[in-house]
Symmetry: C2
Subunit: 256 residues, 2 copies
Protein backbone atom coordinates (compact mmCIF):
# COMPACT_ATOMS: atom_id res chain seq x y z
CA UNK A 1 0.00 0.00 0.00
CA UNK A 2 1.41 3.40 -0.93
CA UNK A 3 1.94 6.08 1.68
CA UNK A 4 -0.74 8.76 2.06
CA UNK A 5 -0.19 11.76 -0.23
CA UNK A 6 -0.29 15.04 1.71
CA UNK A 7 -0.56 18.43 -0.01
CA UNK A 8 0.69 21.39 2.05
CA UNK A 9 -0.17 25.03 1.36
CA UNK A 10 -0.61 28.30 3.23
CA UNK A 11 -1.17 32.03 2.73
CA UNK A 12 1.87 33.53 4.46
CA UNK A 13 4.14 32.34 1.63
CA UNK A 14 6.35 29.29 1.12
CA UNK A 15 9.21 30.55 3.32
CA UNK A 16 7.11 31.41 6.40
CA UNK A 17 8.02 29.65 9.67
CA UNK A 18 4.40 28.48 10.00
CA UNK A 19 4.46 26.31 6.88
CA UNK A 20 7.93 25.00 7.70
CA UNK A 21 6.58 23.84 11.07
CA UNK A 22 3.56 22.30 9.36
CA UNK A 23 5.78 20.31 7.00
CA UNK A 24 7.71 19.05 10.03
CA UNK A 25 4.43 18.12 11.71
CA UNK A 26 3.15 15.90 8.89
CA UNK A 27 6.19 14.63 6.96
CA UNK A 28 6.31 11.33 8.88
CA UNK A 29 2.62 10.68 8.08
CA UNK A 30 3.04 10.28 4.31
CA UNK A 31 4.53 11.64 1.10
CA UNK A 32 4.49 15.44 1.31
CA UNK A 33 4.18 17.84 -1.64
CA UNK A 34 4.21 21.60 -1.04
CA UNK A 35 2.54 24.11 -3.37
CA UNK A 36 2.40 27.52 -1.71
CA UNK A 37 2.37 31.20 -2.67
CA UNK A 38 5.72 32.83 -3.49
CA UNK A 39 4.73 35.88 -1.40
CA UNK A 40 2.31 36.64 1.45
CA UNK A 41 -1.39 36.34 0.50
CA UNK A 42 -3.13 37.06 3.79
CA UNK A 43 -6.76 38.22 3.73
CA UNK A 44 -7.16 37.05 0.14
CA UNK A 45 -10.42 35.30 0.96
CA UNK A 46 -11.40 32.82 -1.72
CA UNK A 47 -9.88 34.88 -4.55
CA UNK A 48 -8.70 33.11 -7.69
CA UNK A 49 -6.59 34.65 -10.46
CA UNK A 50 -8.39 34.96 -13.78
CA UNK A 51 -7.14 38.25 -15.21
CA UNK A 52 -3.41 37.44 -15.33
CA UNK A 53 -1.31 34.34 -15.92
CA UNK A 54 0.15 32.30 -13.09
CA UNK A 55 3.73 31.21 -12.54
CA UNK A 56 4.64 27.91 -10.89
CA UNK A 57 8.32 27.26 -10.09
CA UNK A 58 9.97 24.26 -8.47
CA UNK A 59 12.15 25.13 -5.48
CA UNK A 60 14.66 23.09 -3.47
CA UNK A 61 14.32 25.03 -0.22
CA UNK A 62 12.67 21.97 1.37
CA UNK A 63 15.51 19.61 0.42
CA UNK A 64 14.16 16.24 -0.69
CA UNK A 65 10.51 17.24 -0.27
CA UNK A 66 8.87 18.26 -3.55
CA UNK A 67 8.00 21.95 -3.36
CA UNK A 68 6.61 24.53 -5.76
CA UNK A 69 6.06 28.25 -5.32
CA UNK A 70 3.19 29.89 -7.17
CA UNK A 71 2.52 33.52 -8.06
CA UNK A 72 -1.18 33.21 -7.28
CA UNK A 73 -3.53 33.03 -4.30
CA UNK A 74 -3.85 30.06 -1.92
CA UNK A 75 -6.88 28.80 -3.89
CA UNK A 76 -4.84 29.06 -7.11
CA UNK A 77 -2.07 26.97 -5.47
CA UNK A 78 -4.47 24.14 -4.69
CA UNK A 79 -6.05 24.24 -8.15
CA UNK A 80 -2.61 24.17 -9.82
CA UNK A 81 -1.42 21.37 -7.52
CA UNK A 82 -4.41 19.21 -8.39
CA UNK A 83 -4.29 19.86 -12.14
CA UNK A 84 -0.57 20.18 -12.86
CA UNK A 85 1.62 18.89 -10.02
CA UNK A 86 0.06 15.81 -8.41
CA UNK A 87 -0.51 12.54 -10.23
CA UNK A 88 -3.36 11.46 -7.96
CA UNK A 89 -5.84 13.03 -5.56
CA UNK A 90 -4.16 13.72 -2.21
CA UNK A 91 -5.37 11.90 0.90
CA UNK A 92 -5.04 15.07 2.94
CA UNK A 93 -4.58 18.80 2.44
CA UNK A 94 -3.09 20.81 5.31
CA UNK A 95 -2.89 24.60 5.19
CA UNK A 96 -0.95 26.89 7.52
CA UNK A 97 0.21 27.08 10.16
CA UNK A 98 -1.08 30.63 9.88
CA UNK A 99 0.64 33.41 11.78
CA UNK A 100 -2.49 34.78 13.48
CA UNK A 101 -6.01 33.63 14.34
CA UNK A 102 -8.58 32.54 11.75
CA UNK A 103 -11.37 31.92 14.23
CA UNK A 104 -14.98 33.03 13.87
CA UNK A 105 -15.81 35.30 10.90
CA UNK A 106 -12.13 35.34 9.87
CA UNK A 107 -12.77 32.03 8.11
CA UNK A 108 -14.27 34.16 5.30
CA UNK A 109 -11.29 36.51 4.90
CA UNK A 110 -8.59 33.90 5.44
CA UNK A 111 -6.30 32.75 2.65
CA UNK A 112 -5.23 29.81 4.83
CA UNK A 113 -8.81 28.62 5.05
CA UNK A 114 -9.47 29.26 1.34
CA UNK A 115 -6.70 26.79 0.45
CA UNK A 116 -8.35 24.22 2.72
CA UNK A 117 -11.80 25.11 1.34
CA UNK A 118 -10.58 24.65 -2.24
CA UNK A 119 -9.24 21.23 -1.23
CA UNK A 120 -12.59 20.25 0.26
CA UNK A 121 -14.39 21.38 -2.92
CA UNK A 122 -12.02 19.04 -4.81
CA UNK A 123 -13.10 16.22 -2.49
CA UNK A 124 -9.82 16.19 -0.52
CA UNK A 125 -10.03 15.87 3.30
CA UNK A 126 -8.69 19.26 4.35
CA UNK A 127 -7.76 21.31 7.39
CA UNK A 128 -6.39 24.78 8.09
CA UNK A 129 -4.25 25.47 11.18
CA UNK A 130 -3.73 28.90 12.73
CA UNK A 131 -1.75 30.00 15.77
CA UNK A 132 -3.16 33.04 17.60
CA UNK A 133 0.14 34.91 17.34
CA UNK A 134 0.99 37.18 14.41
CA UNK A 135 4.74 37.29 15.14
CA UNK A 136 7.22 35.97 12.58
CA UNK A 137 9.15 34.29 15.41
CA UNK A 138 6.10 32.85 17.20
CA UNK A 139 6.63 29.56 19.06
CA UNK A 140 5.02 26.84 16.90
CA UNK A 141 6.14 23.87 19.02
CA UNK A 142 2.72 23.08 20.51
CA UNK A 143 0.85 24.04 17.31
CA UNK A 144 3.00 21.48 15.51
CA UNK A 145 1.81 18.74 17.89
CA UNK A 146 -1.81 19.77 17.27
CA UNK A 147 -1.20 19.58 13.51
CA UNK A 148 0.21 16.06 13.83
CA UNK A 149 -2.67 14.85 16.02
CA UNK A 150 -5.47 16.34 13.88
CA UNK A 151 -3.85 15.21 10.62
CA UNK A 152 -3.45 11.64 11.95
CA UNK A 153 -7.11 11.62 12.95
CA UNK A 154 -8.21 12.78 9.50
CA UNK A 155 -6.06 10.14 7.78
CA UNK A 156 -7.50 7.48 10.10
CA UNK A 157 -11.16 8.55 10.33
CA UNK A 158 -11.76 10.66 7.22
CA UNK A 159 -14.10 13.64 7.26
CA UNK A 160 -17.81 13.80 6.39
CA UNK A 161 -18.19 14.66 2.70
CA UNK A 162 -18.07 18.37 1.97
CA UNK A 163 -16.57 19.34 5.33
CA UNK A 164 -13.15 20.65 6.30
CA UNK A 165 -11.68 21.75 9.63
CA UNK A 166 -10.71 25.16 10.94
CA UNK A 167 -8.24 24.60 13.80
CA UNK A 168 -7.04 27.53 15.92
CA UNK A 169 -4.41 27.22 18.63
CA UNK A 170 -4.30 29.69 21.54
CA UNK A 171 -1.09 31.64 22.08
CA UNK A 172 -0.28 29.87 25.35
CA UNK A 173 2.49 27.71 26.72
CA UNK A 174 1.86 23.98 26.37
CA UNK A 175 1.22 23.48 30.10
CA UNK A 176 -1.45 26.21 30.04
CA UNK A 177 -3.47 24.45 27.31
CA UNK A 178 -6.52 22.62 28.69
CA UNK A 179 -7.23 20.43 25.64
CA UNK A 180 -9.29 20.80 22.47
CA UNK A 181 -12.98 21.50 21.78
CA UNK A 182 -15.17 20.83 18.76
CA UNK A 183 -16.94 24.18 18.29
CA UNK A 184 -19.23 26.25 16.14
CA UNK A 185 -18.08 29.50 14.50
CA UNK A 186 -18.76 32.38 16.90
CA UNK A 187 -21.07 35.11 15.64
CA UNK A 188 -18.45 37.88 15.85
CA UNK A 189 -17.28 40.56 13.44
CA UNK A 190 -14.75 43.31 12.79
CA UNK A 191 -15.72 46.89 13.38
CA UNK A 192 -13.57 48.66 10.82
CA UNK A 193 -11.84 51.89 11.65
CA UNK A 194 -9.99 53.21 8.64
CA UNK A 195 -6.89 55.22 9.39
CA UNK A 196 -7.04 58.21 7.03
CA UNK A 197 -3.74 59.85 5.98
CA UNK A 198 -2.45 62.34 3.43
CA UNK A 199 0.31 61.39 0.99
CA UNK A 200 3.22 63.72 0.06
CA UNK A 201 1.15 64.89 -2.94
CA UNK A 202 -1.74 65.99 -0.75
CA UNK A 203 -4.08 63.13 -1.66
CA UNK A 204 -5.89 61.10 0.97
CA UNK A 205 -5.46 57.38 1.48
CA UNK A 206 -6.76 54.82 3.98
CA UNK A 207 -5.35 51.89 5.94
CA UNK A 208 -7.81 49.21 6.98
CA UNK A 209 -7.75 48.66 10.73
CA UNK A 210 -10.44 47.42 13.04
CA UNK A 211 -11.61 46.07 16.35
CA UNK A 212 -12.81 42.49 16.75
CA UNK A 213 -16.26 42.48 18.38
CA UNK A 214 -17.62 39.24 19.85
CA UNK A 215 -21.16 39.53 21.17
CA UNK A 216 -21.74 35.76 21.02
CA UNK A 217 -22.17 34.50 24.61
CA UNK A 218 -22.28 30.81 23.62
CA UNK A 219 -19.87 28.45 25.36
CA UNK A 220 -19.84 26.19 22.32
CA UNK A 221 -18.02 28.73 20.10
CA UNK A 222 -14.43 28.86 18.88
CA UNK A 223 -13.94 32.23 20.58
CA UNK A 224 -15.00 30.81 23.93
CA UNK A 225 -12.66 27.84 23.53
CA UNK A 226 -9.67 30.02 22.63
CA UNK A 227 -10.34 32.48 25.45
CA UNK A 228 -10.53 29.59 27.91
CA UNK A 229 -7.32 27.80 26.97
CA UNK A 230 -8.61 25.25 24.45
CA UNK A 231 -7.63 24.49 20.87
CA UNK A 232 -10.76 25.21 18.78
CA UNK A 233 -11.80 22.82 16.00
CA UNK A 234 -14.70 24.00 13.82
CA UNK A 235 -16.10 21.78 11.07
CA UNK A 236 -16.73 24.03 8.05
CA UNK A 237 -18.70 23.48 4.86
CA UNK A 238 -19.19 25.34 1.60
CA UNK A 239 -22.96 25.08 1.30
CA UNK A 240 -23.74 28.69 2.19
CA UNK A 241 -27.51 28.21 1.83
CA UNK A 242 -29.43 29.66 4.79
CA UNK A 243 -31.93 26.79 4.67
CA UNK A 244 -33.94 28.19 7.57
CA UNK A 245 -34.77 31.32 5.52
CA UNK A 246 -36.43 29.46 2.63
CA UNK A 247 -39.98 29.32 4.12
CA UNK A 248 -39.84 33.07 4.93
CA UNK A 249 -38.87 33.92 1.35
CA UNK A 250 -41.52 31.65 -0.13
CA UNK A 251 -44.16 34.02 1.26
CA UNK A 252 -42.89 37.00 -0.74
CA UNK A 253 -44.75 38.45 -3.70
CA UNK A 254 -42.11 38.17 -6.40
CA UNK A 255 -44.29 38.77 -9.44
CA UNK A 256 -41.97 40.53 -11.85
Amino acid sequence: MSKPLILVSNDDGITAPGIRNLVDAVKHLGEVVIVAPDSPQSAMGHAVTISKPLRLEKTDIYGEITAYQCSGTPADCVKLAVDKVLHRKPDLLVSGINHGSNSSINVLYSGTMSAAMEGAIEGIPAVGFSLCNFAYDADFSFAKKVATSVSSNILKNGLPQGTLLNVNIPNLKEDEIKGSKICRQANAKWKEEFDERTDPNGRNYFWLTGKFINNDKGEDTDEWALANGYVSIVPVHFDLTAHHAIPFLNEWDLTI
Copy 2:
Protein backbone atom coordinates in the same frame (compact mmCIF):
# COMPACT_ATOMS: atom_id res chain seq x y z
CA MET B 1 -39.87 59.75 7.59
CA SER B 2 -36.62 59.82 5.61
CA LYS B 3 -36.24 57.83 2.42
CA PRO B 4 -34.50 54.44 2.63
CA LEU B 5 -30.73 54.68 2.20
CA ILE B 6 -29.47 52.27 -0.47
CA LEU B 7 -25.77 51.44 -0.91
CA VAL B 8 -24.81 50.13 -4.35
CA SER B 9 -21.60 48.24 -5.15
CA ASN B 10 -20.31 45.59 -7.56
CA ASP B 11 -17.17 43.80 -8.68
CA ASP B 12 -17.04 44.66 -12.40
CA GLY B 13 -16.11 48.27 -11.60
CA ILE B 14 -18.04 51.51 -11.25
CA THR B 15 -18.43 52.10 -15.00
CA ALA B 16 -19.80 48.64 -15.89
CA PRO B 17 -23.23 48.53 -17.58
CA GLY B 18 -24.43 46.09 -14.88
CA ILE B 19 -24.06 48.58 -12.01
CA ARG B 20 -25.52 51.40 -14.11
CA ASN B 21 -28.61 49.25 -14.70
CA LEU B 22 -28.76 48.41 -10.99
CA VAL B 23 -28.70 52.09 -10.05
CA ASP B 24 -31.57 52.66 -12.50
CA ALA B 25 -33.46 49.75 -10.94
CA VAL B 26 -33.36 51.08 -7.36
CA LYS B 27 -33.01 54.87 -7.56
CA HIS B 28 -36.76 55.46 -7.19
CA LEU B 29 -36.84 53.31 -4.02
CA GLY B 30 -34.71 55.59 -1.87
CA GLU B 31 -31.56 57.71 -1.57
CA VAL B 32 -28.80 55.95 -3.50
CA VAL B 33 -25.07 56.09 -2.70
CA ILE B 34 -22.59 54.21 -4.89
CA VAL B 35 -19.20 52.97 -3.64
CA ALA B 36 -17.65 50.61 -6.18
CA PRO B 37 -14.23 49.47 -7.37
CA ASP B 38 -12.37 51.72 -9.82
CA SER B 39 -11.41 48.65 -11.90
CA PRO B 40 -12.73 45.10 -12.40
CA GLN B 41 -12.44 42.87 -9.31
CA SER B 42 -14.05 39.65 -10.50
CA ALA B 43 -13.21 36.39 -8.68
CA MET B 44 -11.80 38.33 -5.72
CA GLY B 45 -13.75 36.19 -3.27
CA HIS B 46 -13.94 37.79 0.15
CA ALA B 47 -10.51 39.43 -0.14
CA VAL B 48 -9.80 42.60 1.82
CA THR B 49 -6.80 44.89 1.39
CA ILE B 50 -4.46 44.97 4.37
CA SER B 51 -0.98 45.22 2.82
CA LYS B 52 -1.44 48.45 0.88
CA PRO B 53 -3.39 51.67 1.39
CA LEU B 54 -6.74 52.31 -0.26
CA ARG B 55 -7.84 55.25 -2.38
CA LEU B 56 -11.39 56.57 -2.35
CA GLU B 57 -12.33 59.27 -4.89
CA LYS B 58 -15.62 61.04 -5.47
CA THR B 59 -16.84 60.89 -9.07
CA ASP B 60 -19.63 62.72 -10.89
CA ILE B 61 -20.26 60.07 -13.54
CA TYR B 62 -23.66 59.37 -11.96
CA GLY B 63 -24.76 63.00 -12.07
CA GLU B 64 -26.67 63.95 -8.92
CA ILE B 65 -26.27 60.54 -7.31
CA THR B 66 -23.41 60.41 -4.79
CA ALA B 67 -20.73 58.08 -6.12
CA TYR B 68 -17.22 57.06 -5.02
CA GLN B 69 -14.68 54.84 -6.73
CA CYS B 70 -12.31 52.82 -4.58
CA SER B 71 -8.98 51.17 -5.38
CA GLY B 72 -9.82 48.09 -3.29
CA THR B 73 -11.92 44.95 -3.46
CA PRO B 74 -15.74 44.83 -3.25
CA ALA B 75 -15.51 44.00 0.48
CA ASP B 76 -13.18 47.00 0.95
CA CYS B 77 -15.77 49.22 -0.80
CA VAL B 78 -18.49 48.24 1.65
CA LYS B 79 -16.21 48.66 4.68
CA LEU B 80 -15.11 52.12 3.49
CA ALA B 81 -18.69 53.12 2.71
CA VAL B 82 -19.87 52.18 6.19
CA ASP B 83 -16.95 53.78 8.02
CA LYS B 84 -16.15 56.85 5.90
CA VAL B 85 -18.93 57.70 3.44
CA LEU B 86 -22.34 57.05 4.96
CA HIS B 87 -23.71 58.91 7.97
CA ARG B 88 -26.05 56.09 8.98
CA LYS B 89 -26.44 52.38 8.40
CA PRO B 90 -28.04 51.76 4.98
CA ASP B 91 -31.47 50.13 4.79
CA LEU B 92 -30.36 48.03 1.84
CA LEU B 93 -27.16 47.03 0.05
CA VAL B 94 -27.46 45.92 -3.58
CA SER B 95 -24.47 44.51 -5.47
CA GLY B 96 -24.15 43.88 -9.21
CA ILE B 97 -25.70 43.42 -11.61
CA ASN B 98 -22.84 41.05 -12.32
CA HIS B 99 -21.90 40.26 -15.90
CA GLY B 100 -22.01 36.45 -15.56
CA SER B 101 -23.53 33.84 -13.25
CA ASN B 102 -22.77 33.60 -9.53
CA SER B 103 -24.88 30.52 -8.91
CA SER B 104 -23.89 27.46 -6.90
CA ILE B 105 -20.26 27.28 -5.69
CA ASN B 106 -19.47 30.58 -7.47
CA VAL B 107 -20.90 32.35 -4.42
CA LEU B 108 -17.49 31.65 -2.82
CA TYR B 109 -15.36 33.12 -5.62
CA SER B 110 -17.64 36.04 -6.42
CA GLY B 111 -16.68 39.62 -5.70
CA THR B 112 -20.31 40.64 -6.27
CA MET B 113 -21.45 38.32 -3.50
CA SER B 114 -18.59 39.31 -1.19
CA ALA B 115 -19.82 42.92 -1.26
CA ALA B 116 -23.30 41.67 -0.30
CA MET B 117 -21.81 39.32 2.32
CA GLU B 118 -19.82 42.17 3.88
CA GLY B 119 -23.05 44.17 4.05
CA ALA B 120 -24.83 41.31 5.80
CA ILE B 121 -21.97 40.98 8.30
CA GLU B 122 -22.49 44.70 9.02
CA GLY B 123 -26.16 43.98 9.71
CA ILE B 124 -27.38 45.55 6.44
CA PRO B 125 -30.11 43.70 4.46
CA ALA B 126 -28.14 42.75 1.34
CA VAL B 127 -28.53 41.14 -2.06
CA GLY B 128 -26.30 40.35 -5.04
CA PHE B 129 -27.70 40.21 -8.58
CA SER B 130 -26.07 38.39 -11.49
CA LEU B 131 -27.13 37.98 -15.10
CA CYS B 132 -26.03 34.72 -16.74
CA ASN B 133 -24.34 36.55 -19.61
CA PHE B 134 -20.69 37.65 -19.51
CA ALA B 135 -20.98 40.12 -22.40
CA TYR B 136 -20.30 43.81 -21.84
CA ASP B 137 -23.36 44.65 -23.97
CA ALA B 138 -25.70 42.06 -22.36
CA ASP B 139 -29.39 43.00 -22.23
CA PHE B 140 -30.11 43.97 -18.60
CA SER B 141 -33.71 45.08 -19.15
CA PHE B 142 -35.37 42.09 -17.47
CA ALA B 143 -32.62 41.76 -14.81
CA LYS B 144 -33.37 45.37 -13.89
CA LYS B 145 -37.02 44.51 -13.22
CA VAL B 146 -35.92 41.60 -11.03
CA ALA B 147 -33.63 43.95 -9.08
CA THR B 148 -36.50 46.38 -8.50
CA SER B 149 -38.89 43.65 -7.35
CA VAL B 150 -36.45 41.89 -5.00
CA SER B 151 -35.16 45.19 -3.57
CA SER B 152 -38.73 46.39 -2.89
CA ASN B 153 -39.49 43.12 -1.12
CA ILE B 154 -36.41 43.43 1.08
CA LEU B 155 -37.26 47.04 1.99
CA LYS B 156 -40.83 45.96 2.82
CA ASN B 157 -40.24 42.59 4.53
CA GLY B 158 -36.64 42.71 5.73
CA LEU B 159 -34.45 39.62 5.78
CA PRO B 160 -33.86 37.15 8.63
CA GLN B 161 -30.83 38.26 10.65
CA GLY B 162 -27.52 37.11 9.21
CA THR B 163 -28.91 36.23 5.79
CA LEU B 164 -28.46 37.81 2.37
CA LEU B 165 -29.73 36.86 -1.08
CA ASN B 166 -27.93 35.51 -4.13
CA VAL B 167 -30.15 36.26 -7.15
CA ASN B 168 -29.25 34.92 -10.59
CA ILE B 169 -31.16 35.76 -13.74
CA PRO B 170 -31.16 33.39 -16.73
CA ASN B 171 -29.93 34.75 -20.05
CA LEU B 172 -33.37 34.56 -21.66
CA LYS B 173 -35.84 36.93 -23.23
CA GLU B 174 -38.47 38.23 -20.81
CA ASP B 175 -41.28 36.17 -22.40
CA GLU B 176 -39.22 32.99 -21.96
CA ILE B 177 -38.86 33.49 -18.18
CA LYS B 178 -41.23 31.31 -16.16
CA GLY B 179 -40.93 33.14 -12.82
CA SER B 180 -38.66 32.92 -9.80
CA LYS B 181 -37.78 30.13 -7.36
CA ILE B 182 -36.39 30.19 -3.82
CA CYS B 183 -33.55 27.63 -4.02
CA ARG B 184 -30.66 26.03 -2.26
CA GLN B 185 -27.08 26.32 -3.59
CA ALA B 186 -26.43 23.40 -5.99
CA ASN B 187 -23.59 21.07 -5.05
CA ALA B 188 -21.55 21.78 -8.19
CA LYS B 189 -17.91 22.69 -8.81
CA TRP B 190 -15.33 23.77 -11.37
CA LYS B 191 -12.98 21.20 -12.83
CA GLU B 192 -9.94 23.32 -13.53
CA GLU B 193 -7.97 22.84 -16.70
CA PHE B 194 -4.97 25.16 -16.72
CA ASP B 195 -3.83 26.30 -20.13
CA GLU B 196 -0.02 26.03 -20.08
CA ARG B 197 1.96 28.35 -22.37
CA THR B 198 5.55 29.50 -22.89
CA ASP B 199 6.46 33.18 -22.76
CA PRO B 200 8.90 34.87 -25.19
CA ASN B 201 11.69 34.22 -22.66
CA GLY B 202 11.05 30.48 -22.62
CA ARG B 203 9.39 30.37 -19.18
CA ASN B 204 6.09 28.57 -18.61
CA TYR B 205 2.94 30.26 -17.39
CA PHE B 206 -0.64 29.16 -16.81
CA TRP B 207 -4.10 30.55 -17.47
CA LEU B 208 -6.89 29.32 -15.21
CA THR B 209 -9.74 27.80 -17.24
CA GLY B 210 -12.25 25.16 -16.28
CA LYS B 211 -15.46 23.27 -16.85
CA PHE B 212 -18.47 23.67 -14.58
CA ILE B 213 -19.60 20.26 -13.34
CA ASN B 214 -23.05 19.91 -11.77
CA ASN B 215 -23.77 16.43 -10.42
CA ASP B 216 -26.57 17.68 -8.15
CA LYS B 217 -29.86 16.19 -9.41
CA GLY B 218 -32.04 18.15 -6.96
CA GLU B 219 -34.92 20.17 -8.41
CA ASP B 220 -34.68 22.63 -5.52
CA THR B 221 -31.27 24.00 -6.60
CA ASP B 222 -30.31 27.27 -8.23
CA GLU B 223 -28.80 25.39 -11.19
CA TRP B 224 -32.09 23.58 -11.81
CA ALA B 225 -34.05 26.83 -11.64
CA LEU B 226 -31.73 28.63 -14.08
CA ALA B 227 -31.67 25.70 -16.53
CA ASN B 228 -35.48 25.61 -16.46
CA GLY B 229 -36.16 29.27 -17.12
CA TYR B 230 -36.53 30.60 -13.56
CA VAL B 231 -34.79 33.39 -11.69
CA SER B 232 -32.96 31.67 -8.78
CA ILE B 233 -33.02 33.23 -5.31
CA VAL B 234 -30.77 31.57 -2.72
CA PRO B 235 -30.73 32.78 0.89
CA VAL B 236 -27.08 32.78 2.00
CA HIS B 237 -25.49 33.05 5.43
CA PHE B 238 -21.99 33.44 6.80
CA ASP B 239 -22.06 30.81 9.52
CA LEU B 240 -19.90 28.24 7.76
CA THR B 241 -20.13 25.73 10.63
CA ALA B 242 -20.98 22.23 9.40
CA HIS B 243 -23.14 21.62 12.46
CA HIS B 244 -23.98 18.06 11.36
CA ALA B 245 -20.29 17.07 11.62
CA ILE B 246 -19.90 18.01 15.31
CA PRO B 247 -21.06 14.64 16.76
CA PHE B 248 -18.70 12.75 14.40
CA LEU B 249 -15.72 14.84 15.49
CA ASN B 250 -16.58 14.51 19.18
CA GLU B 251 -15.72 10.80 18.92
CA TRP B 252 -12.11 11.46 17.86
CA ASP B 253 -9.15 10.84 20.12
CA LEU B 254 -7.57 14.28 20.18
CA THR B 255 -5.21 13.83 23.10
CA ILE B 256 -2.24 16.00 22.19
